[in-house]
Subunit: 180 residues, 2 copies
Amino acid sequence: MKFCTHCGHPLVLKTPPGDHLPRYVCEHCGAIHYENPRVVVGCVAEWQHKVLLCRRAIEPRAGLWTLPAGFLENDETVEQGARRESREEALAEVEILAPLALVNVPHVHQVHLMFRARLAQGRHGVGAESLETSLFDEASIPWPEIAFPSVRYTLECFFADRRREKFEFHITTWSKPLSA
Amino acid sequence: MKFCTHCGHPLVLKTPPGDHLPRYVCEHCGAIHYENPRVVVGCVAEWQHKVLLCRRAIEPRAGLWTLPAGFLENDETVEQGARRESREEALAEVEILAPLALVNVPHVHQVHLMFRARLAQGRHGVGAESLETSLFDEASIPWPEIAFPSVRYTLECFFADRRREKFEFHITTWSKPLSA
């Protein structure tokens, strides 16, 4: 962030009076530009005891499997966002049932919020950001080819809850790997 | 949003190829500037069956009562954000126990996420954005002077769950009032 979005003048990084963190501040028009984490919304969509996964066509992690998920947009609720992403990535209509997992991903400034959902009529197809979509039962989940730790965690919560027939809302933090 | 934060040139509003919504695009450097909802994190901090509220010193809703809460910052988890806001607004150390309520506020591009928490030693004080802080039992909550519908909803969930001795995670949407 180098230039003010309001007036186009250069920004400086400094802590505004009364604030506790450095912000990008425009000394020309006085605007303060805050940067905040973004929310990723998605779902585990179930149909006849199987769940819907998408093989990613885009980076990061192209070629690996993920849940339908993406950035929450302005003017929509988290449930609407999860439905939209299922439609975009897997041409799937889903009914959102309940929140399933929240994963903090602070090192990339994200919060992932995943729902349990019901896939309408088992229908799905390959959206623009997917190479392939498929329904998997628990035994056939391609665990070594799961794209992200937050997707792995969400699937683990889902199957563990389903086995004990009691769904809860789970929360965890995906910390930056030591090797990164 | 009028100028590119990367190069300072004017932005145009258009739908990028493969996208589904208009975005602010820089035709000089090619940057696409996405705008996404922000997360507000806070908590119901309990001590000896009372909960901590803050009377707001700042707009919006100055003079009314709220839970300690504010915008999630980059590089922190939702739990860390809720703890930080309790410290800033009510000089309170809290132990986060569990997620309590999520409130979509799409008309202002926000998601409010509230936790149950334990207030350490019942200690609190007046932070920079508060006029007053106080502990209230359920019967003395100043319901007509609660600042926001999301705070009211969170408190209602908290007391209802506490009465039946079973805490859950609640989710709702605060829709734009028809009069607005």
